[in-house]
Each structure stands twice: as C-alpha cells, then as structure tokens.
C-alpha cells in the first residue's frame, strides 16, 4: 500500500510493511536549459546514535563517501546535472543491517555550491526527494523541492528512527541555511 506523508507526519514502517528490509532514497531533477551553472543536487544520509551525532565520519554518506554504517547504507553515485529520467541520485538503506547503536538515519538534500552559483531549489525544474519501500516499490513520502522549498538551498527531508523495537519514518521538510558543510558539522561530522 502506498503511503504518502505530509510534512510532520510519521509512519510505522514495521507495522505498514512487516519484514521491511530496504529503504531507497531517490533524488531527481531536470537539467538546466537556461544559461548559467548547471544544477547539482546532492543526496546525503547521516547515520546517528542516540545523541543525534554520527558514530564516526564514515556514517556521513554522501558523494565523497559512498558507503557507511558498516555497509548498511550505500550511495549509488553523484549526479552532477540531473541528466536522466526518474531518480537521479539513489541511496539504499538496509534497515535490517543497521547496527544496534544506530538510533536514527537522517536524509537530506543540498545544492552543490549554491551560494557561489546563486541557486535555490525554486530555480530547478521538477526537483523532488522521495523515500521508497524498496521491497515493494511503494513510495512512503515525497517532497516537491521546486515548489515547497523554493528559496532554500538545503533541506532535511526526513528520518528513519527506532521507536521501541520498531522502525518509523518521519517527514521533516526543514530548510537549512549554509549548505552541506554546516549541516554535517551539526551532526558531529569532522568537516
């Protein structure tokens, strides 16, 4: 069953999809047709402990660190322009392989070099980020970045978190000023 979450909503994945093993984060956008620097959007994932910090720098998975959380999170590669249909960047999270000390997995999207290029999500056509139950291909949540984060340059999209013995997903949709560096630092990454 497809669930589509709005901002602030949460869903109990263990109840909705018992036995859920893998979650896919998909980021997509259109290539730039007008003049100027291309739009380079980046998906990143922070694997956090109970204090909301990464256990080590390997748990910050992004275009320069494609695998973390002991192999449970895998980024399928950087897309610099948005070339291609559908999801342009994909990160796979194997929930069943997440180590016990992992309490949360936070998903975010940033525009590379946004300040220098003077870009925001509103300038990009059809930019979205979504979370999909990779076992069934059902979409759990989707965020229209071009429309609803239009003057932002970075956004915390949502997070997987343990609640009792179960995994839940919460849609956050909160903008973040300053870019990936400050965002990563706030999660305890040594940048």
């Amino acid at each position: 069953m497809a669930i589509s979450l709005s901002k602030g909503g949460n869903v109990n994945l263990s109840k909705e999809s018992p036995g859920l093993k893998t979650v896919k984060v998909g980021l997509g956008w259109d290539t730039r047709v007008t003049d100027g620097s291309g739009f380079d959007l980046d998906a990143s994932v922070f694997v956090l402990n109970e204090t909301g910090k990464v256990r080590n720098d390997q748990d910050f998975i992004y275009f320069n660190n494609l695998s973390g959380a002991d192999g449970a999170v895998v980024h399928q590669g950087d897309n610099l322009t948005g070339q291609g249909e559908g999801d342009d960047e994909v990160v796979m999270v194997s929930i069943d392989k997440l180590p016990q000390d992992v309490a949360r997995v936070t998903f975010s999207v940033t525009i590379y070099d946004a300040d220098a290029r003077k870009q925001n999500f509103g300038m990009v056509s059809n930019a979205f980020i979504r979370v999909v139950n990779a076992d069934t291909n059902a979409e759990i949540a989707r965020y229209d970045l071009s429309e609803d984060a239009s003057t932002e340059t970075a956004m915390i999209f949502g997070e997987l978190y343990r609640h009792g013995g179960e995994w839940k997903f919460k849609a956050i949709g909160q903008g973040f000023a300053g870019g990936l560096g400050p965002l990563a630092r706030s999660m305890g990454v040594n940048v």
Partner: protein
Amino acid sequence: MSISLAKGGNVSLSKEEPGLTQILIGLGWDTRATDGADFDLDASAFLLNEAGKVRSDADFIFYNQLRSSDGSVEHTGDNRTGEGDGDDEALKVNLTQVPAEIQKVSIAVTIHDAETRRQNFGMVQNAFIRIVNDATGREITRYDLTEDASIETAMIFGEVYRHGADWKFRAVGQGYQGGLGPLARNFGVNVG
C-alpha cells in the same frame, strides 16, 4: 500589500486574491543611457502544456501575434523605446479562459536585434515583473530582477502556472545568451 518575491520564489495568486479572474502582467525596465541604437525590449508569453511545450506556434504571444486563439491571453502592444514610467509592456490573462490543457504561461522579455545592436541584459536595470488583479488594479506580487545578466539577450522573467486548483506565480529570472531563438525553440515553437 504586494508580496515581493525573491528569485525562485512562488506565491499563490488564487489564495492571495480569492475570486481572481483576470490578471495584468506588467513588465518594466530602465535602459542605461548609452550612445547608439535604442533598446527595444519585447515581452512575450508562451502557453505551455504539461510537457512544457506550446501546442502550436499560435501559443506564442508577442508583438506580431497579440492574442491567443481563445482570447485568454492578450498582449497590449509594442513599446519600442522604453518611454514612460511604470509598466513598459503588459499582458492580460483571463485565468478562467485559459484552456485546461495549458499548465503554465511563461513570460519572457527579449532584446530586439540584440546581436546587431550589441546589446544584452547587462545594460538593463531595474527590471521587474508584477501581477495585478485587473478587476481592481491591486498589485498582488512583484519580482524585481537584481542579478547581473550580462550575457543574456532573452530572459524568462516569471511564470504563471496551475498548482492543483490554484493559479500561482513563480519568479524565474533565467535567460538565454542566444536570444529569442533558443528560448522559443526550448518551448517547442518553430523558429525560422
């Protein structure tokens, strides 16, 4: 109180102005005083379907084709020198008459004969696009273009688009170095 948009920003015209039926899209600019040929900036509108393309060349509204076939979009005429304060060129859109398959009306400004006259948007200042409730004269929103656009000769100022049941406006401010040709072609217009 008119809402001032930043580049990339958007606003719901329907929510700001319940009962809105017809809008006036006003465009204005100052051209820096220079020797040489006059600046002739032309406003145009592209009626676009869901794929972001015109249905036919009749969906390209400009100084030589002042009305859309259904009358929903009307260009109020060519201003060849930029004389006059306020809106230099304007388009009227009757939102209730825009065909259902048209998802977006993209508003562009191009510099006529830019290459021969060696002109570009870097020479244009205080450019703006504003949306007015044509029935009341109230300005709903405006976008003041502030970027230095030194190589572009054609610029999409903004777009009026459907979002669910509402009409919204987005501040675009992105352009093309090559001028009207690439801009129109991008929208599927057959350009000679």
